[in-house]
């Protein structure tokens, strides 16, 4: 079927199109040069903003911890439930929506591709089952490999070739997309009730340090030619004064050769940019971090922006969740996932009148606004850790309008107002910049060649918003802007119109993207490793891989590795 989007203001940063009035032609599920007007369905986009479909680099939408989070929070579901309609299914959820609701809500905001950032390898089957049930979106997932015993053992031995082969094997059998590292070394230590407090602390029983794990996996990432960089959740996350650790982490990865490409993606950087000695003297370390990132090209990051609401935190960083439990006393879940990782869940209410939360809010925005190059910054809330993804339009308004930020700023705790750098920052992102931080930059960082732009050959993922950039000054009329981005005028995915004026028109399944790594010779799993599986894992080696039939709409990406 042909589709022609006529006369919209097109923003396509990858192809350097900034608000030009032009037509977008779609044949089947791809964007093409032109289609005959007579036989095409025409969408009149005059006076509307046309963006590529949104890409979210980091959002916890599926997997063991998300599902446990749902179990832990019946009250979160009670306050927000969705009835079924003729097209959509019923669902619940404010901070952790059920799978179908997740798909619908993302689609309504013009998103078409999302990345589930932390999958314990042991939970891979469950994660893919849930991903299958999330409609309207293309998805991928990153397995947690930073504390996996085989990785730690081989890094300790100094055998990066072997490490790379195991990582390739794991990525393939779990149908993953990138290497996710959470608190490297810390999670392994947490199994013994300890944590690492700097990147040079020893990991018990392995005799290596977080520095070696990060550098090792960054090199492995390079050897395997993976599309994305290592996806890193830093050590000491959520602890005052941790910006120094973050700076050291970025410095230690400086020397990895990369031909000018990024080496590391630091996720939810807001939680890693705290200065001060304790919660009393807590302040922002965003200035130092942003300064470093402005001068170095090997780092990209996403914000992890706080929204003032009641949400659920969930991360593989078990020790951090325990710290949060000690702070809040709320109900909590904490697990050790065999030889791989750990996990924790705790509900959390971010409050304007709490000085720490208010400063955290400020840190996220400071980071995004003080980093000069928008291609290094991506807008996320680390859903649901800092707030549900439904708050994205609000965050975009804060980024695009000083007026919007200051309106919230005035209602913050007085102590936080004094410590914040925000009143001195006048930068306001344009629609072009917003297209970068919500789609193009993320697609580029993930090296998804057919996403995040509207050039010929791209996937026909388009989001059209009811906003006339010639008439509306988004810095002043931020409420109009927010409304437009909350309910897309049209969301088109793979050439199908899924959403019109915020209403779902049809339900459509998305693809699951995974890496099919071609190594020079087949990866052999020795009898020794199989014996370890029997001894240390609850799942047998034979049952461990996610077989092809687990994935409803499989979309492998073939990559030739150098090992």
């Amino acid at each position: 079927m042909n589709l022609l989007i006529k006369n919209g203001f097109v923003y396509d940063p990858i192809n350097e199109i900034n608000g030009e009035i032009m037509d977008i032609a779609i044949r089947n599920d791809k964007i093409v040069e032109s289609v005959p007007e007579r036989t095409s369905k025409i969408i009149d986009a005059s006076g509307l903003t046309v963006f590529p479909g949104g890409v979210d680099i980091h959002t916890h939408i599926a997997g063991g911890e998300v599902n446990t989070g749902r179990l832990v929070r019946p009250e979160d579901h009670e306050k927000d439930f969705v009835r079924k309609t003729a097209i959509t299914r019923s669902g619940v959820g404010y901070s952790i929506p059920s799978t179908f609701t997740t798909g619908y809500r993302y689609s309504r905001m013009g998103y078409t591709t999302v990345m589930n950032p932390s999958m314990a390898c042991l939970e891979a089957k469950h994660t893919h089952e849930e991903l299958n049930d999330i409609p309207m979106l293309d998805k991928a997932t990153y397995p947690l490999l930073g504390d996996w015993w085989l990785v730690l053992e081989n890094i300790a031995k100094g055998d990066l070739e072997a490490c790379a082969r195991y990582v390739a094997w794991m990525l393939e059998i779990t149908k993953g997309y990138a290497i996710k590292i959470v608190n490297p070394g810390g999670l392994e230590s947490w199994g013994f009730g300890r944590n690492v407090h700097s990147i040079d602390d020893q990991v018990p029983n392995f005799g290596i340090t977080p520095r070696e794990i990060m550098c090792g996996l960054a090199k492995v990432n390079k050897m395997l030619n993976l599309p994305h960089t290592i996806h890193l959740h830093t050590n000491n996350l959520g602890i005052p004064g941790n910006y120094a650790t973050t700076l050291e982490t970025m410095k230690c990865l400086e020397s990895i050769p990369s031909d000018g490409k990024p080496v590391v993606h630091i996720t939810h950087l807001q939680f890693s940019s705290f200065a001060g000695e304790d919660w009393g003297s807590f302040r922002s370390g965003a200035g130092e971090i942003a300064k470093y990132i402005n001068n170095h090209d090997h780092v990209t990051f996403d914000m992890g922006q706080i929204v003032f609401t009641d949400t659920t935190t969930m991360t593989a960083d078990g020790p951090f969740e325990y710290t949060l439990y000690q702070l809040s006393g709320h109900k909590w879940v904490n697990t050790d996932i065999e030889t791989e990782t750990s996990g924790g869940i705790i509900p959390f209410h971010y409050k304007r009148k709490n000085p720490v939360n208010a400063i955290q809010w400020s840190i996220g925005l400071e980071l995004a606004l003080m980093t000069k190059n928008p291609w290094k910054v991506f807008m996320t809330t680390d859903h649901p850790n800092a707030g549900p993804f439904t708050a994205y339009p609000k965050i975009l308004a804060w980024l695009a309008s000083k007026k919007a930020r200051m309106a919230t700023f005035k209602r913050l705790h007085k102590k936080a107002q004094k410590k914040s750098l925000l009143p001195s920052i006048d930068r306001e992102l344009s629609l072009y910049d917003i297209a970068i931080v919500t789609r193009s930059g993320q697609a580029k960082a993930l090296d998804l060649k057919e996403k995040g732009h509207l050039g010929v050959g791209a996937d026909a993922d388009v989001a059209i918003f009811n906003l006339n950039p010639e008439e509306v000054d988004i810095a002043n009329k931020y409420k109009t802007f927010r409304r437009a981005f909350s309910n897309a005028a049209y969301t088109i995915k793979a050439g199908k119109v899924l959403v019109k004026d915020g209403e779902i028109l049809q339900q459509s399944d998305g693809k699951t993207i995974w890496l099919d790594l071609q190594t020079s010779k087949e990866i052999e799993i020795s009898e020794e490793i199989k014996r370890k599986f029997r001894e240390y894992w609850t799942v047998e080696y034979e049952n461990y891989p996610v077989s092809d039939h687990y994935i409803k709409h499989s979309s492998p990406l073939t990559i030739k590795a150098d090992v």
Partner: protein, 270 residues
Amino acid sequence: MIVLTPFKKSQYPIIAQCINPDVFQEKSKEEIGNLPVWIGNKKRRLVDLFKVEKNSANSTSITINGDVTQVRRIGWGMTQGEIVVNGNVGMHLGKKMSGGKIVVNGNAEGWAGSEMKGGLIEIKGDAGDYLGSPYRGSTVGMRKGKIVVDGNVGSDAAVFMKSGTIRIRGNAGPFIGFRMTGGVIHIEKNAGTRLGACMIGGKIVVSGRLENIMPTFAIERLKGKVKIEPGDKAVGPFYVFLGDLAENGRGKLFVSKEKNPQLSQYERFL
């Protein structure tokens, strides 16, 4: 005054959040009749299920005549006015209400006065479980207001209670005042087991028999009278227990000495 009479006793649950003086205020009889209600998974109008009568203009009083056991969420979030139910009433009565008065001349189901912020609920019959307690999983308990139950109460009343008063004239089930942090509960007859488990503040007064007391409560002293509300005292003598010590709590249990001879062994610790 607005009078609602159900046509029949429903077989399916009805969600009628609209039965609320704030919603009915300044609406004509027709407008009130057209308010949406859900019966099972079907959307209906109020007038499909109830006979609606309006006696005087702009009154904030609602009377329901008949059995509405299946009707949930009556008086949800009301801030003013009065609801009188002449019959039994369903779950979530007066949830999140912050003002006004609800009188039930019959029994109430679970979660009456859940997450209440103010106002008064009087239940002349029995109340179900979770009286004045938050929804499962939530930690936002009763914050103000008063609940009076003339009959018995089920389990888990006043969970996470922060402030306000609950008076139970009959017997109470187990787990009353679980994790409460403030407020006063007066049980005039017998109380169930695990009374005040995990409480860290507030008072619970039991004028009747208490089967057993949690081992994490320590006796503090004997007291003659306890203040329930200004001008209202319960007459003892009472054993005063402090707890829940497992949570470093400073909550107080007042248990009638006269009705609980089995607790006399605690006197040696005084």
